[in-house]
Amino acid sequence: MSATVQQASRRKRRSRLRTWLAGDRRAAISLSFLLLLGSLSLLAGVIAPYSPVAQSMDILAPPSAAHWLGTDDLGRDVFSRLLHGGPMTLYASFLAVSVGLAIGLPIGVLAGYLGGWVDTGVGRIIDTMLSFPSIVLAIAVTGALGIGLTNSMIAVGIVFSPGIARLIRVQTMIVKGDLFVDAARTFGSSTWRVIFRHILPNAIQPVIVQVTLLLATALLAEASLSFLGLGVQPPQPSWGQMLARAYTYMEIAPEQMYAPGLAILFTALAFNALGESLRALLDPTRSRND
C-alpha cells in the first residue's frame, strides 16, 4: 500500500469515527467519560489535594471546602483516595482482560482452525470451565496464587479465558471456510500467516465488543474482591476497598458509601454502553450508510 492510500484510509477511518460518535450520543458520552477518567488517573498524583494515605485527626468529616467529599475513618481525604483509586481500577480491569485474551485467544483460534480432536477436547474443557461460578473460581485461584490486586486480577483473567476462547473459536470456524482463506493457502501462505494475516483480523470484531463488556465485568470483580479483602491491600486506595471501610462505619457515616459506589457504577456503565454501541456499529445485519 502506498503512503497516500494509507493516509486516505486513515482519514476515512477517522471521519467514520467522528460520524459514529456524532450519531451515537451514548457512545460519545461513555467515551468522553472514560477518557476523562483515564486522564484523571494519570494525573491523580498531581491533582489530588492530599496524599491518599495521609491520616489526620479529622475523622469521618462531612464534605467541606477543605475536603470536598469528607474524610474517612482514619481522617484520610475521600476525594484524593477516589482519584488514586482510579488508576488501580483501570490497571485491574485491563490486566484481567489482557490475561483472559492472552490465554483464550490462541487456544480458541487454534481449536477453531485445527478442528478435529483438538477442537473436541478444547470444547469440552471450555464447557467445563464455564460451569464454575466465576467469582467463586476467581476467589479460589486468588487464594492459591496469594492475595493481592495483581494475583486476583490474574485469577479473574483465567476465569474470563474460556468465554473468550469459545467466542473466537466459533468466529475462526466461520472465517476458515471463506474463499479468501482458501486462496491464501493455495498461494502457499504458511499456517501462521493464514491465521495472523487472514483469519484473526476477520474474526476479531465480536471479540472487541466482548472485551469492552468484559472490562465492566472485571471492574465489578475487582470491586467485589477488594471489598472482600482479597484484592487491593490497605493502605492502598481502591473503590471496592473504600466501600469495605465505609461498610464498617455505615451506622455512623452512611454517606461514605456513595462516592466510591457511584464511581464504580458510572465506570461500569460507560464500558457497557461503549460495548453495546460497538456491537450495534459492527453488526453486519444493521444497514450502514457510509
Partner: protein, 318 residues
C-alpha cells in the same frame, strides 16, 4: 416414562461424565497453582518444620501428582472431601451445613429475577423504541452495572438501619423458623436479584423482538389474529427456550455473586466460607466449596438440557 425419555436421560447423563472428570481435575489443579512448596505456604511463615511435614503428609503432598489426584478423587467419590486444616471439621459436613443459607437467597433472587424480568422484557418488546421500552432498557443497563454488594449496603442503610423493617445481618434456618428465614433473606435476595432481573429483561426483550418481527408472525397478523393472541400463543412459546437458557446462566452467576452479598449481610453461607478459607489458605475447604457448587451447576445444566428436550420436540430427535 417412555423408552425414548429414558434413552435421552441416559445419554445426557453419560455426556456429563467427562465434564465431571475435567472439573475434578481443575479443582485438584488449584493446589498446583500455589507458588513454591504448598505445605510451607499453608503452614504459614511461623510454622515449624514439623508442622510443615505434618501438613505435607496430611494432604499427601509427598506423593507423585497423579497419585495425589487419584487419592483426592477416590475420597471425593465416597463423599470424603478431607478436613479443614484450621478447624479439623470434615469439609463436606461444613459445606452442607452452610449450603441451605446460600441456596435460600440464590433461589429467592432467581424467583424475583424471573417474576420481574419476564414481564419487563415483554413490556419492552411490545413497545419497541417507545417511551416504556427506553425506560426499561436504560434501567436494565443500570442494573447490570451496579455492584450488587453496594446495592446491598444501600438496602441495609435504608430498609434495615433507617426504617427498621428488616434485620441488618444474619440468617435463620428455613426448616426451623421459615418466616424468620424468609425475613432475613429478603434484602440479600433483592440485592442479588438486580443483575438477574436486568439480564432476563434484556435477553427476553431481544428474543421476543426477533420472534415478533419474523415472517410467520407477519403472516399471523395478515390472517387477522389479534396482537395479544399472537404474543401469548406464538411469541412466548418461541422465546421459552431462550428464557430457559438465560435462567441457567443467571443461576450460575447468582451462585457466584452471592459471595459479596453474604459478606454484607454476614450470612454464614458457602460464599463467606470460601472467602475465609481462601484468606486463611485452608485449601481443602476452598476445593470442597468449589466442588459442591460446580456439582450444583452441572446438575442445573442437566435439568435445563432435559427441559429443553421436553419443550422442543426437535431437540430430542438429535
Amino acid at each position: 416414562m417412555s423408552m425414548r425419555t429414558l434413552l435421552l436421560v441416559g445419554s445426557r447423563l453419560v455426556q456429563v461424565v467427562p465434564v465431571l472428570v475435567l472439573a475434578t481435575l481443575a479443582i485438584f489443579g488449584l493446589l498446583q497453582l500455589v507458588p513454591g512448596d504448598p505445605a510451607a505456604v499453608i503452614a504459614g511463615e511461623t510454622a515449624t518444620a514439623e508442622r510443615i511435614a505434618q501438613i505435607r503428609q496430611m494432604l499427601g503432598l509427598d506423593l507423585p501428582v497423579w497419585q495425589q489426584y487419584l487419592h483426592w478423587l477416590s475420597g471425593a467419590v465416597r463423599g470424603d472431601l478431607s478436613t479443614s486444616l484450621i478447624t479439623g471439621v470434615p469439609v463436606l459436613e461444613e459445606v452442607l451445613r452452610r449450603l441451605p443459607n446460600t441456596l435460600l437467597i440464590v433461589f429467592m433472587a432467581l424467583a424475583l429475577s424471573v417474576a420481574i424480568g419476564v414481564p419487563l422484557g415483554i413490556l419492552a418488546a411490545t413497545n419497541v423504541d417507545g417511551r416504556i421500552d427506553r425506560l426499561v432498557t436504560s434501567t436494565a443497563s443500570l442494573g447490570v452495572a451496579v455492584p450488587n454488594f453496594w446495592m446491598g449496603m444501600i438496602l441495609v442503610g435504608f430498609f434495615a438501619l433507617g426504617l427498621g423493617w428488616f434485620p441488618t445481618t444474619g440468617a435463620a434456618s428455613l426448616t426451623q423458623e421459615p418466616l424468620r428465614a424468609l425475613h432475613h433473606a429478603t434484602l440479600p435476595a433483592c440485592a442479588l436479584a438486580l443483575s438477574g432481573i436486568a439480564e432476563i429483561t434484556r435477553q427476553l426483550r431481544s428474543a421476543l423482538i426477533d420472534v415478533l418481527s419474523s415472517q410467520y408472525v407477519r403472516t399471523l397478523h395478515a390472517k387477522g389474529l389479534p396482537q395479544s393472541k399472537i404474543l401469548w400463543r406464538h411469541g412466548l412459546k418461541n422465546v421459552s427456550l431462550t428464557l430457559l437458557t438465560v435462567v441457567g446462566l443467571v443461576f450460575n452467576r447468582t451462585l457466584g455473586a452471592t459471595v459479596a452479598i453474604e459478606a454484607v449481610f454476614a450470612i454464614p453461607g458457602t460464599g463467606s466460607l470460601v472467602v475465609a478459607s481462601a484468606t486463611n489458605k485452608d485449601f481443602p475447604v476452598v476445593q470442597g466449596v468449589v466442588f459442591v457448587l460446580v456439582l450444583i451447576v452441572i446438575a442445573c445444566n442437566l435439568l435445563i438440557d432435559l427441559l429443553y428436550a421436553a419443550l422442543d420436540p426437535r431437540m430430542s430427535r438429535r
